[in-house]
């Protein structure tokens, strides 16, 4: 506040100074009589000044006064009241104009001073009130501090009390626990004592009973008798038989017979239950197979997460014929196999359903604009890289701009301003060059990115092909390995061959696609397989099967042709929204629509299948 005051009114303070100077000077005036008066009435100047001045000059001392005033005024920098002397001796004349001017100036000064004074007074008042306010604030805060301090002390006290209480409660709890323990011990001891007492009492009771028995039973109690008109026949019409060892044995036999019957009955029930459950299981299995087998030719991507599972499908197909006989085998030999295969199938089904769920939710979320071919990981990596690059470029540009600005602001001197122009021009040119370079870089990056995406697409396709190859290979391997059922090993072999051939078809179909991946390994084996199938002496049933299989494989090949687009889809399902942006940009919209349509129809068909009994 003080600052503000000094800054705003620099003139005012100087004026006040002059006033004080002036008053001090007055002391030195010849009319020092009035100096006291002046001092006394220094603040209420307005009226007294006039009286003072009126008394200042009298008839006698006009000259003196004038000269005094002149002197005073000249010291204050006013022009002299006298005319300029022409000669040294000539008496200087009073210049009226100057006097008037001086007067006027003095009056103006006076008015100014009054104003300033007023201002200062209001300022003072303001400051006083400010001061008061601050003081009250201070006192208030002090009070607050005090109360909070008191509160804190209170809280501390409470805390202490609570802790004390807690300790007490802990103690109590411990005591209670001890008590419980003690009571339990007491209960236990009481129980043992009770039992002991009971035993003692019972012994006594038994003794008494024995005595009573002897007393009552042993002496021939005439009263204990049955008075009956005539004995009646037995309910079964037979006569009572003597008790002999034979009857004993017979009774034993009968008992065991009853027990056996019961167990047999129970076993029968359990068998029935088992059979029913088996039936249900079989049916479920069949349904699962029928549900899963068309799929396995379609979405190859399943191989990604469950390489082993597809194999079980084939195995299931292979085992189909042998199933019936298998049910009748005892549980132990088949159980593990059965549970394993069911577990596998179940896993497939689960993953599939989960996938479907995901798809559905994704479709709902993203609409239908997803059609990237690259696997998600590649996609993400690529985008990450590109984003990083863009970020770097942006940063570079920013720093350049900052430098530019700094340069522009740094040289503001007049001397440098001339030079600056030329520097700026130079700089500008250089920057322009850099700018164009950056642009080019950016363009390059864009191009690179595009190429990357394309590469990634290619990579995805290649990978798919590879995966398929691997799957088929694994399948073969597995089928060759599986000793599914010893008696059906021939069947299994046959089927594995079939499945190999069908897979071969798939591979061929795939090899038609643009990418050139060497199939040398897989190409060799399927041929062998197909040869094998031809060379096998096929029984009528198996040949039938063969036909159906080939049909199926044809089907599957067609499917594969149709599906290539669909196969892409699960990847996009996994893809993130951010990834979608540029994939959309890089691909024409028409394709998108087509693909999404495919994926839609695909999901629909599967949903329908799920609904089937």
């Amino acid at each position: 506040m003080g600052d503000w005051m000094t800054v705003t009114d620099p003139g005012l303070s100087s004026e006040s100074k002059t006033i004080s100077q002036y008053t001090s000077e007055t002391k030195m005036s010849p009319s020092s009589l009035y100096s006291q008066q002046v001092l006394c009435s220094s603040i209420p100047l307005s009226k007294n000044v006039h009286s003072f001045f009126s008394a200042f000059c009298t008839e006698d001392n006009i000259e003196q006064s004038i000269s005094y005033l002149d002197q005073e005024l000249t010291t204050f920098g006013f022009p002299s009241l006298y005319e300029e002397s022409k000669g040294k001796e000539t008496k200087r004349e009073l210049n009226i104009v100057a006097v008037l001017n001086c007067m006027n100036e003095l009056l103006v000064l006076q008015r100014k001073n009054l104003l300033a004074q007023e201002n200062v007074e209001t300022q003072n008042l303001k400051l006083g009130s400010d001061m008061d306010h601050l003081q009250s604030c201070y006192s208030k805060l002090k009070e607050q501090l005090e109360t909070s301090r008191r509160e804190m002390i209170g809280l501390q006290e409470r805390d202490r009390q609570l802790q004390c209480k807690n300790r007490n409660l802990h103690q109590l709890l411990k005591n209670e626990k001890d008590e419980v323990q003690k009571l339990q011990n007491i209960i236990a001891s009481r129980a043992t004592q009770y039992n002991h007492d009971m035993k003692r009492k019972e012994r006594e009771y038994n003794k008494l009973k024995e005595r009573l028995h002897q007393l009552v039973m042993n002496k021939k109690d005439k009263k204990i008798a049955m008075d009956i008109l005539n004995y009646v026949g037995r309910a079964d019409g037979k006569r009572g038989s003597w008790r002999t060892g034979k009857t004993e044995a017979r009774n034993e036999d009968e008992m065991y017979k009853i027990l056996l019957n019961d167990y047999e009955y129970r076993q029968k029930q359990i068998l029935m239950e088992n059979a029913e459950l088996k039936k249900v299981l079989q049916q479920m299995k069949k349904e699962m197979i029928s549900l899963l087998s068309p799929q396995k030719k379609k979405p190859r991507e399943r191989v990604d997460d469950s390489t082993g599972t597809v194999i079980s499908d084939v195995e299931e197909d292979a085992g189909e014929l042998s199933r019936e006989s298998m049910w009748d085998l005892s549980c132990e030999t088949v159980r593990e196999q059965l549970t394993n295969s069911i577990r596998k199938q179940w896993r497939i089904l689960k993953s599939h359903v989960e996938k479907l769920d995901n798809q559905v939710s994704k479709v709902h979320l993203e609409g239908f604009n997803d059609e990237d071919v690259i696997s998600r990981q590649d996609h993400e990596q690529e985008t990450e890289k590109l984003e990083l690059e863009i970020q770097q470029c942006k940063e570079m540009i920013k720093t350049q701009q900052q430098l530019l600005q700094q340069l522009a602001t740094a040289c503001d001197d007049d001397t440098t301003s001339l030079l600056r122009d030329c520097y700026l021009l130079e700089e500008k040119e250089r920057l322009k060059e850099e700018w164009s370079l950056f642009k080019e870089q950016k363009k390059n990056f864009e191009r690179e990115r595009r190429s990357f995406t394309e590469a990634a697409i290619r990579l995805g396709l290649e990978r798919k092909a590879f995966e398929e190859e691997r799957a088929s290979w694994l399948k073969q391997q597995f089928l060759n390995m599986t000793t599914f059922d010893h008696q059906n090993s021939e069947n299994v072999k046959l089927f594995s061959a079939f499945s190999g051939s069908s897979d071969w078809d798939n591979l061929i179909v795939h090899s038609r696609q643009p990418q050139k991946k060497p199939h040398s390994v897989s190409n060799g084996s399927p041929v062998c397989m197909s040869k094998l199938t031809k060379s096998l002496p096929a029984s009528p049933s198996t040949s039938d099967f063969c036909q159906t299989r080939s049909c199926m494989s044809e089907h599957s090949s067609i499917n594969v042709l149709n599906i290539t687009a669909e196969e892409i889809k699960p990847n996009q399902v996994g893809g993130e929204c951010t990834n979608q942006k540029w994939s959309v940009a890089s691909r024409p919209g028409s394709q998108e629509g087509c693909y999404s349509g495919c994926s839609l129809s695909y999901t629909n068909s599967h949903v329908e299948k799920d609904d089937l009994p």
Binding site: E202, N206, H213, K223, I228
Partner: protein
Amino acid sequence: MNFSEVFKLSSLLCKFSPDGKYLASCVQYRLVVRDVNTLQILQLYTCLDQIQHIEWSADSLFILCAMYKRGLVQVWSLEQPEWHCKIDEGSAGLVASCWSPDGRHILNTTEFHLRITVWSLCTKSVSYIKYPKACLQGITFTRDGRYMALAERRDCKDYVSIFVCSDWQLLRHFDTDTQDLTGIEWAPNGCVLAVWDTCLEYKILLYSLDGRLLSTYSAYEWSLGIKSVAWSPSSQFLAVGSYDGKVRILHHVTWKMITEFGHPATINDPKTVVYKEAEKSPQLGLGCLSFPPPRAGAGPLPSSESKYEIASVPVSLQTLKPVTDRANPKIGIGMLAFSPDSYFLATRNDNIPNAVWVWDIQKLRLFAVLEQLSPVRTFQWDPQQPRLAICTGGSRLYLWSPAGCMSVQVPGEGDFAVLSLCWHLSGDSMALLSKDHFCLCFLETEAVVGTACRQLGGHT
């Protein structure tokens, strides 16, 4: 629903014959046998003293009347009214008497459980079984009548003896791992024997017919244990009611607990139907649930009507605060009964005496709760279908079936306080017993109700 006229009765002794043709009832020292259909008196026998117990033989040919005070048993033949038989236990006294399943032997337990005397009606032979245990349920016969299991106590140890009923030969004798055996019960298929310990300890043991221990089950320790036990008619389940107010169901294959039915005082499950009996003056009873009121001719209309209201959950039931410092506290599951088709289980928690809980055994959950206005005295399942008859000592009979609930006023002058009831074999009628009267109740609407039950419950 029709009611017969009221007949005299004493000591609540009224029983249908096992073949369902006759009805035996006692009036002081007289035994009256009536035809079930006509209710005409067929025979009238006079005993030597006030009858305390009657029992039909399994073939419905004989009735035994026990006069415990005199230590006497008298047997009457239905075919030969002049035939008589009197068994005197003399100074040994008599506390229990029962038929063997063949209907030709009578087992008398002497005072202090000194021995059991087996009297034959065919021969002069008399057999004695020593050391029978003095317990609640110490004798049990298999349903086919071949075997008898008997709880014994020798040298402060519990034993079970299994006898062949045809010649009273001891088949098996084994000790049981119990502190103080309280009850034994054969499974309906006669192959498993359930043995449970005193209420001080929760322990139930299962023995095979050949004496092998199949399983032991104990739910908890240090607290009052088993209060009631019931086999399901299919022998598949064993329901164990205990003092903690829970019923535990054991399964016959694993003998493990498959579920636990708690009996809380508040019912929150919205699937459970809670029927609340409500009393109403007849003027207001417009849309009452009760059965078509008794015919005008049957008797004067009751002063008030009761009907069932379906209460909306949550329902809190009236509970009794048990006196814990006395013996036999009124807590825990005191009554348990499976329906004849094993689909339902009816229970009563003794500290919620007004309520009957009906559990669905197929779904293993609470099916319905009936809250009566007064404590439930007895309930019994219809032997033919899932239909539960309940009496509360009032003048009403309550019936529950999966289709619904109804309360019926028993007609007659004054109040006919139904203290007990027993179903006829066919499920067409039942005997309602009061302190000194009984009447028969004919459920002629049975067919209608039955079909309704079948449609709704999906059973049978």
